[in-house]
């Protein structure tokens, strides 16, 4: 009798543990609109926008572009330091993400930090439907911080294609035109 009770007890215990395991919730990734993007929100930079296109964005579209462009650079700087390609995936188109993933070696502790101080965004084309923007970011001021606490400031020119996908602007292509050193604390 005692043996039957013991077996029953063990069976119930096993079933309890099995069922408990099944109903356990797995960790789920929150949808984008519920996440707080600290990297983007903590990023500050100065952006001047000049509209050279015949079709011009309206004020609301410009506010959106300015905000997303700052967020994009927040993520590009984070990527530059950490090689964390997933953190900013919302700001890259699929093609760019694929390129980054292809060249991914490993996530690493930052050696060089890059800070973007100032952008002069020249909008070259703006689509009628507000979904495509081509631009040249001229006189972009970058500061690189090295592990020995030396810094280097450069001025760069970059051409970019941005596409409005999902609910924000994403980088689709780039041409890094040039970069020249203007301040080097080591010299």
């Amino acid at each position: 009798m005692l043996r039957i009770l013991f077996i029953l007890f063990i069976t119930l215990l096993t079933m309890f543990l099995y069922l408990r395991g099944r109903v356990q919730h797995k960790a789920v990734e929150l949808p984008v609109f519920l996440k707080v993007d600290h990297i983007a929100r903590n990023h500050k930079t100065e952006i001047d926008i000049k509209i050279l296109s015949d079709i011009k964005p309206d004020t609301i579209e410009l506010i959106r572009l300015r905000k997303d462009y700052s967020f994009l650079w927040g993520h590009l700087n984070n990527l530059y330091t950490t090689n964390d390609i997933k953190a900013g995936k919302e700001y890259y188109t699929e093609a760019v993400f694929r390129l980054l993933a292809k060249n991914y070696t490993e996530k690493r502790k930052g050696l060089i930090n890059r800070i973007d101080h100032k952008h002069e965004v020249n909008i070259i084309d703006w689509s009628v439907d507000g979904l495509v923007c081509t631009l040249i970011d001229s006189n972009l001021l970058f500061t690189y911080e090295y592990p020995d606490e030396s810094i280097k400031t450069t001025q760069a020119n970059i051409a970019l294609v941005l596409l409005f996908q999902g609910d924000h602007w994403r980088i689709d292509a780039m041409r890094f035109l040039d970069e020249k050193e203007i301040i080097n604390s080591k010299n």
Partner: protein, 274 residues
């Protein structure tokens, strides 16, 4: 004596804590451009334990490091193209680092796509046939290529065909589709027959076309408005293949007059006679 020994120990300890300065490795096969994928980058150094990272404008890429006698050889882990332009090659060993500015160029740019963004995607012929086009070229590694002369971007306003249909800016990309929709009917012709079996008039309109000769869209509402005995009736039908029909029962000793309208286009009023 003890004091001297202690001083000696202290000085030697301080000297051993001092960082050994490493000489900057000499980049043997350095050139103006770093063509990617590069075979091997060779450096001359007598130091060991090197780490090498290539910083493109996007991301840091760790390189394979092979150390030999007084030399250091680097190559890419994935032999693929990169984002072109200024970049930094950083060599580090024992807390010290050395920077080599490089200019990345891909040996093979892969497939170069001509991008043609059209806007707006839907053209309604009655509201004009102009469409904006934004053009540029992108290579396989998302580098924007020169489009024309020194320009990377080009855009203009073009006039699309007035023939209704689905078109593609790039025949190979379904996402580049745009749509030309027919306009409204410019001329409505009514005709009728008398169906003796059902004792009713069958009124038809066929071949309704817009100003460019496109058959007007299916589902466009056509209203048949007819009057019998000073009462006015209205019947709505949907256009299919440019035509529609309706029937009105014959009422003896009454004259039926009918006309049709689509939006603001009217047909002539006709009198139905047996």
């Amino acid at each position: 004596m003890v004091r001297v020994i202690l001083y000696c120990l202290l000085i030697s300890g301080a000297l051993s804590c001092q960082k050994q300065t490493i000489e900057k490795p000499v980049f043997i096969n350095q050139s103006d451009s770093l063509f990617v994928p590069f075979g091997e980058l060779i450096f001359q150094t007598d130091q060991a334990n090197w780490n090498a990272i290539l910083y493109t404008v996007f991301q840091p890429i760790e390189l394979n490091v092979y150390e030999g006698n007084d030399s250091l050889i680097l190559n890419l882990k994935n032999e693929t193209g990169l984002v072109e332009g200024p970049a930094k090659l950083i060599l580090s060993s024992e807390g010290q680092f050395f920077e080599y500015p490089v200019h990345i160029k891909n040996t093979d740019s892969g497939e170069i796509s001509s991008i043609d963004y059209r806007s707006s995607k839907t053209i309604h012929v009655d509201y004009g046939l102009s469409q904006q086009r934004i053009l540029h070229k992108i290579d396989e590694f998302r580098n924007i290529r020169l489009f024309k002369g020194d320009d990377y971007f080009y855009s203009d306003i073009i006039t699309v065909s007035s023939n209704a249909g689905i078109y593609r800016a790039d025949p190979n990309i379904s996402l580049s589709s745009y749509y030309v929709q027919p306009g409204q009917s410019v001329n409505i012709q009514l005709s009728y027959t008398f169906d003796r079996q059902k004792n009713s008039f069958v009124i038809t309109t066929v071949n309704n076309r817009d100003q460019y000769g496109n058959t007007i869209s299916d589902g466009t509402i056509i209203s048949f408005i007819y009057s019998i005995d000073n009462k006015i009736y209205r019947e709505e039908k949907a256009i299919l293949d440019g035509g529609a029909k309706t029937s009105i029962p014959d009422i003896p000793n009454e004259t039926i007059r009918i006309y049709a309208m689509i939006n603001n286009t009217f047909s002539k009023t006709i009198k139905l006679e047996k």
